[in-house]
């Protein structure tokens, strides 16, 4: 499926995992940004990734707990960066270009690079 094809947002896109061009996991579709106006077709403008995008999807108290634990950072994936949508959303660029691996890279600095086969 291509990103400009008709799509049932809730069942087909929300909560799908994201894979970058090197097939690395780089987040989940937490929310979507739509483009459109009355009388015009509504289209997906971007995917929103990260705990900051949970705010519209859960009760306020639950979001406050999530924010306390995981923060409220959010990355934006423009629709032009979507290659195809299947059982995951495949991107046409590296996760780093969209700042999807920021936390991953921060934690990586703490992991010793030795001893593993």
């Amino acid at each position: 499926m291509k990103p400009d094809a008709p799509i049932k947002l809730i069942s087909q896109l929300l909560d799908l995992p994201l894979l970058d061009k090197d097939d690395r996991w780089c987040g989940v579709v937490d929310d979507v940004e739509l483009d459109g106006s009355p009388g015009k077709a509504t289209r997906i403008k971007a995917l929103l990734v990260g705990p900051g995008a949970y705010s519209g999807r859960m009760p306020a108290w639950m979001f406050r707990v999530v924010k306390m634990i995981a923060g409220d950072r959010m990355a934006r994936v423009p629709v032009e960066n979507i290659d195809r949508i299947a059982s995951a959303v495949h991107l046409n660029c590296a996760a780093e270009e969209l700042r999807l691996h920021r936390v991953e890279d921060r934690v990586r600095a703490w992991i010793p690079r030795r001893g593993a086969l």
Partner: protein, 411 residues
């Protein structure tokens, strides 16, 4: 299909089937009710085959592990509830496995239990850091074949084969008092939970992705989940039957996991005891690794982190941090001094409650032709899948009342 790969896969499934909960409940079921609960093990194993085959098929065709599906199918809120519930149940299970390891090492060495539990955590952590996925899975699975000593010991004590075979027929023993009936019900639920632990689905489906399965691996998946799980289940049934033959007539209640090892000691003496304890040690260690990694897989998949142990630990940093935490937290539980048997009971209780939430999204995806195409569930997989979903849902509903009414199977 590579015959060596298939044989290794089946042997790994056999060696990795039994964990501390099955050891405990198999021995207690035999000493309390003779052969009458064998059919529950057999039924649970068929359920595990059905769901295990679906997990492997979905991993091979849709390239999706269970937790990705769970969030996509249940949505963020209900998915979070399922994640937290499964994390708690799997954490308690890991704590039970680490406690079990401490006990078995204590039996083998005489050193203090908590020191041996700490040593277990260090060794488990080291193997998970050093070895890639396939080696972890194969080494624990193949060494776990030492558990075959229980099957050999059963043959050596000449059980009444007719009675044993009769245990495969669904039954409730006649003449039980109402208290004993409730206890029988509690054991039915606990055994179902122990055989169908949710972590097994998370680990097996993630393993399929780790090994980069594709549709060509489907025959291997089917053989592993049917032949491998069936043979593995026979080991648990051998422990139950040995207990029915040796402990029930002597009114011995196997209150500690180590008691099961006596089943091999009686026919084979010191050597049998040693092999049985080593087999238990490896089987429990393998389950500890699986539970710990299953929790890390779940969290990483739910939030879309890099994950997998086919990668170096620093290539999937948040996943690595997660499994380190999920190894240390259960050790913290063990350090509080809580009894291993209590942990085992809580592990089966929490797990059965989580089971319907684990298998519903799996069922929904495995039958979805949009994702699975020609590999979607057929009528048999659908029929058996919904049947076992009903079984685990009923067991989940009955679990807490039965636990309370029987004081955890004690009354």
């Amino acid at each position: 299909m590579n015959p060596l790969e298939i044989t290794l896969g089946i042997m790994t499934a056999v060696g990795g089937f039994v964990d501390i909960s099955e050891l405990v409940f198999a021995a207690q079921a035999g000493s309390n009710f003779g052969y009458a609960l064998i059919w529950v093990f057999a039924l649970g194993t068929i359920g595990m085959m059905v769901f295990g085959e679906m997990c492997g098929r979905v991993a091979a065709v849709a390239h999706q592990p269970v937790f990705n599906l769970m969030r996509h199918r249940l949505g963020l809120k209900l998915g979070l509830v399922a994640l937290i519930a499964s994390m708690i149940s799997t954490l308690i299970t890991t704590a039970a496995e680490i406690g079990g390891l401490g006990l078995v090492l204590h039996y083998l060495s005489g050193a203090p239990y908590l020191l041996m539990a700490a040593l277990s955590v260090v060794l488990l952590g080291a193997t998970m850091w050093v070895l890639p996925f396939k080696w972890i899975e194969r080494s624990y699975g193949l060494l776990g074949l030492l558990m075959l000593v229980f099957a050999v010991a059963l043959v050596a004590i000449h059980p009444p084969w007719g009675k044993l075979a009769g245990g495969f027929v669904p039954q409730v023993p006649a003449g039980l008092s109402s208290k004993e009936l409730l206890k029988f019900g509690y054991f039915m639920v606990a055994i179902t939970s122990a055989v169908l632990f949710p972590y097994e689905a998370y680990f097996y489906s993630s393993g399929g992705i780790e090994e980069q399965w594709g549709p060509k691996d489907l025959p291997n998946n089917r053989l592993t989940t049917t032949v491998g799980f069936a043979l593995g289940s026979l080991l648990a049934i051998a422990i139950l039957s040995g207990s029915a033959q040796l402990f029930k007539p002597a009114n011995v209640g196997p209150q500690l996991p180590g008691t099961s090892a006596l089943e091999a000691a009686i026919p084979f003496g010191r050597t049998g005891l040693l092999v049985a304890l080593l087999g238990m040690l490896i089987a429990i260690a393998g389950a500890a690794v699986e539970t710990c990694m299953a929790n890390a897989y779940s969290v990483a998949q739910f939030f879309g982190w890099e994950w997998g142990r086919r990668k170096k630990p620093w290539e999937a940093p948040r996943f690595t941090l997660a499994w380190l935490i999920f190894l240390l937290l259960p050790f913290g539980i063990v350090l509080t001094g809580v009894d291993v048997m209590t942990l085992v009971e809580y592990a089966v209780l929490f797990s059965i409650i989580v089971l319907p939430l684990t298998y519903l999204p799996l069922m929904l995806l495995a039958r979805d032709k949009n994702y699975m195409g020609k590999y979607a569930n057929g009528w048999l997989a659908n029929g058996l899948g919904w049947l076992f979903f009903l079984v685990v849902t009923l067991a989940a509903v009955a679990a807490i009342p039965l636990y309370l009414l029987t004081s955890g199977g004690q009354s």
